[in-house]
Amino acid sequence: GAGVSQTPSNKVTEKGKYVELRCDPISGHTALYWYRQSLGQGPEFLIYFQGTGAADDSGLPNDRFFAVRPEGSVSTLKIQRTERGDSAVYLCASSPTGTSGAYEQYFGPGTRLTVT
């Protein structure tokens, strides 16, 4: 079956602009995670959805970042007033459920965001 997909693969935007990054999880997976990976670093947690609701958004760095998952499937990460420090690879992962650590998280290929 299809894996996790993310679009666009690469996004270049100017400082101050608004961007949306999309994640299509594996069909039937109720848990969805967003991570941010800065150059030379490991991924850092941003937000976790269980179904349609954000169960934990403690990793979002500030109020310029927001994510939605209105129908419990596709998720969109939204960044307002982008800054150069937002440049990173944004990874999405899905899992059959997030309420148990036993399940594997399946990652998408990420979106590389570059803010000029």
């Binding site: 030379g40 490991g42 934990d56 309420t99 650590g101 990652f107």
Partner: protein, 117 residues
């Protein structure tokens, strides 16, 4: 909060030889999961191997095995018979096993493994 430390930024291994990648972690929990992920230049995170903390036996997956030392909070990855395709970044990661808790992954900084032909 849990932390994962990978102190070696880079390692190199000769093709067909064995290499060990180190990882330490800190947690106050008694039950959890540990993972090694591989990230090639394509950016796709691929699960290499996982270990449940309650299991004393070290996990193995073909050429990949771990040395899990729970008391020392150490979790190293051994790659045997290294192949050119093993060249990638490798990340050690931790996840709580508490049901109902956020099952997010906490990653180390990663290590870049190169394989010499």
């Amino acid at each position: 909060a849990q932390t994962v430390t990978q102190s070696q930024p880079e390692m190199s291994v000769q093709e067909a030889e064995t290499v060990t990648l180190s990882c330490t972690y800190d947690t106050s929990e008694s039950d959890y999961y540990l993972f090694w992920y591989k990230q090639p230049p394509s950016r796709q995170m691929i699960l290499v191997i996982r270990q449940e903390a309650y299991k004393q036996q070290n996990a193995t997956e073909n050429r990949f095995s771990v040395n899990f030392q729970k008391a020392a909070k150490s979790f190293s990855l051994k790659i045997s018979d290294s192949q050119l395709g093993d060249a990638a970044m490798y990340f050690c990661a931790y996840r709580s096993s508490n049901t109902g808790a956020n099952s997010k992954l906490t990653f180390g900084k990663g290590i870049t493994l190169s394989v010499r032909p």
